[in-house]
């Protein structure tokens, strides 16, 4: 059951046409309208208001269409940024289709990168020799090459 305040709010927000109300509130609205005198008075007020709103005149804007269509339009040359964006993210379905083979061609590359990132395929860079490379460098630096005969 809805209250008079809720009923009033629903009329204001969704109009006095109960069919325009959210479907889960229509039956509750109808029930309340059938049982409450205040609800019927409120509904009558808003019906009249909406009818008066509908009757408000609007001038005829004769010549406005010609004026708008006659105004000089700036040339529609898209900016470089727009052109770049249009090239990267095309609006046109045709041009979007051109990206599909490119994306398909890139798929093996992406697949390879992902796969290579997770699987080593038995190839390892770790070996005992590698652990001593700093020592090797130090020893080499201590050599006196000037004594060598060339």
């Amino acid at each position: 059951m809805i209250t008079l305040d809720e009923f009033s709010h629903l009329i204001e927000v969704h109009s006095s046409n109960l069919a325009a109300w959210p479907s889960d509130l229509q039956i509750a609205g109808e029930d309340f309208l059938a049982t409450s005198e205040e609800a019927r008075a409120l509904m009558k007020d808003y019906l009249e208001l909406e009818q008066q709103l509908d009757e408000l005149p609007v001038p005829m804007f004769s010549g406005l269409e010609a004026k708008i269509l006659g105004q000089s339009l700036p040339p529609r040359t898209p900016s470089l940024l727009e052109q770049l964006l249009e090239w990267l993210l095309p609006n046109s379905r045709f041009r979007l289709r051109l990206w599909q083979p490119v994306a398909a061609a890139c798929l093996p590359l992406v697949f390879g990168i992902v796969l290579g990132n997770f699987y080593s395929f038995g190839v390892t860079f770790e070996s005992d020799e590698m652990e001593y490379w700093e020592d090797e460098l130090t020893m080499l630096s201590l050599n006196n090459y000037s004594e060598n005969d060339f």
Binding site: E50, L53, L56, F61
Partner: protein, 185 residues
């Protein structure tokens, strides 16, 4: 052609597509601007500017985010709000009720016509007295036929805030009309 196709053509500089869009949306945009601004001249300026902005910024419209009419009304709404902020007008324009649409049925009884005119004028004044966001919410939802969700997008606010604005607008109008004793005949 769909809105998407038309706008794509506009992006590519197709003026005939632009003409189709103008013909499709001019009435709705100009009526919205008129109900926001209340005078014919400013309405025409805003409508012209709105369509010029559409031409210039056509590439920014995203079909997946909003309908073209929603996007266009958002442009018109922003222009109206900017205009109203720049030109705060406290007095009503004299031409508010000028130029009634010719397709309206003529009143057979002149006295009855006069009452209708007074009633309309009173309501127009009450609408004009509403804060901008309430007026905009009312116009978008009642006259332009947008859903509350679409109107909230146009006004860049939450649906809850939009619904609060429209509720306050209708409550104010109802109170004002009952205070002035205007009842529909």
């Amino acid at each position: 052609m769909t809105d998407e196709e038309l706008m794509l053509a506009v992006v590519n500089g197709d003026q005939s597509a632009y003409q189709v869009i103008v013909k499709q949306h001019l009435k709705s945009v100009s009526h919205y601007a008129y109900r926001m601004l209340g005078n014919q001249k400013d309405t025409e300026d805003i409508a012209q500017e709105a369509f010029l902005k559409l031409w210039i910024n056509a590439g920014k419209w995203q079909v997946e985010k909003s309908k073209l009419s929603t996007w266009l009304h958002r442009i018109a709404h922003n222009l109206c709000i900017d205009f109203l902020r720049k030109h705060r007008r406290t007095q009503l324009q004299s031409e508010i009720l000028e130029g009634v649409e010719p397709n309206q049925e003529p009143h057979e009884n002149p006295r009855e016509g006069s009452e209708a005119f007074q009633r309309a004028k009173q309501l127009e004044m009450a609408i004009r007295g509403l804060p901008e966001n309430q007026r905009s919410a009312l116009v978008l939802c009642h006259y332009s036929g947008f859903s509350n969700k679409e109107a909230a997008v146009i006004m860049n606010m939450s649906i809850k805030a939009l619904e609060s604005a429209i509720a306050r607008a209708k409550r104010s109008l109802r109170n004002e009309l009952s205070e002035t004793g205007i009842e529909h005949q």
